[in-house]
């Protein structure tokens, strides 16, 4: 079963991951990725905007593609929107599987596709000014790995 959540308030990744792991005692391994707002880049705040009618359905669709591609016991996708301060978690992906390779590949793939396909628009505040972040070529390269 997949859990997909789009949150507008801060979340505790350690608690999310502990609950996810406890729910999958039959899995030998759990791989997680946590993305957080970096401290020390001069970024004062990060804002992610989403478009409700598209963003959550697309995340659920991604989850079901990941489940179809690897043999998983569980999959968790949690994504923030709204304004976040440095150090705050942005995204948590976790995959529980019997086999380690499946869990690694599923989490990796889910992150690559969340980053490049998801309906989030991002702006950063630095020096008191908000600036929209444009797409990065790196994301398209990451996607291309999966053929």
């Amino acid at each position: 079963m997949s859990q997909v959540r789009l949150l507008t308030a801060p979340f505790d990744p350690a608690r999310e991951l502990a609950a996810f792991t406890a729910a999958h005692p039959e899995a030998g391994g759990v791989v997680s990725f946590l993305g957080q707002v970096r401290v020390g880049d001069g970024v004062e705040a990060l804002e992610l905007k989403h478009y409700e009618p598209l963003t959550l359905p697309a995340m659920k669709d991604l989850a079901s593609r990941v489940r179809g591609r690897w043999d998983l016991d569980g999959l968790l996708l949690v994504h923030r929107s709204g304004v976040m301060a440095p150090g705050e978690p942005i995204v948590l992906v976790a995959a529980a599987a019997r086999h380690r390779r499946d869990a690694f590949a599923a989490a990796d793939y889910a992150m690559d596709h969340l980053k490049s396909e998801s309906w989030f628009w991002k702006r950063e505040k630095a020096g008191g000014e908000w600036r929209w972040i444009e797409p990065r070529d790196q994301d398209f390269e990451d996607i291309a790995r999966w053929g």
């Binding site: 396909e117 702006r123 929209w132 797409p135």
Partner: protein, 80 residues
């Protein structure tokens, strides 16, 4: 008799707000034609996608709009 336009990402800055109500117009072209030229030009950008009531349009779609429809203008997502 109105439509709602939703502007995502940097289009919000061009439009001066995240959304706007406009009088009903029957087509996307008619909607764009009634907007400020600078905004209309940004919304016509090659990489801007459109969704009507949460359904993404294909390039060749030319939907007939009706009262209450929500049209979202979606620039490329930010990634990274």
């Amino acid at each position: 008799m109105a439509l709602t336009l939703v502007f995502l990402g940097r289009l919000e800055d061009v439009a001066g707000g995240g959304s706007r109500a406009i009088p009903l117009a029957s087509s996307i072209d008619a909607v764009l034609g009634a907007l400020e030229p600078e905004l209309a030009s940004a919304l016509r950008g090659a990489r801007v996608k459109l969704a009507v009531n949460g359904i993404l349009l294909q390039d060749t779609d030319a939907p007939v709009l009706k009262d209450g429809d929500e049209i979202a203008f979606l620039p490329p997502v930010s990634g990274g």
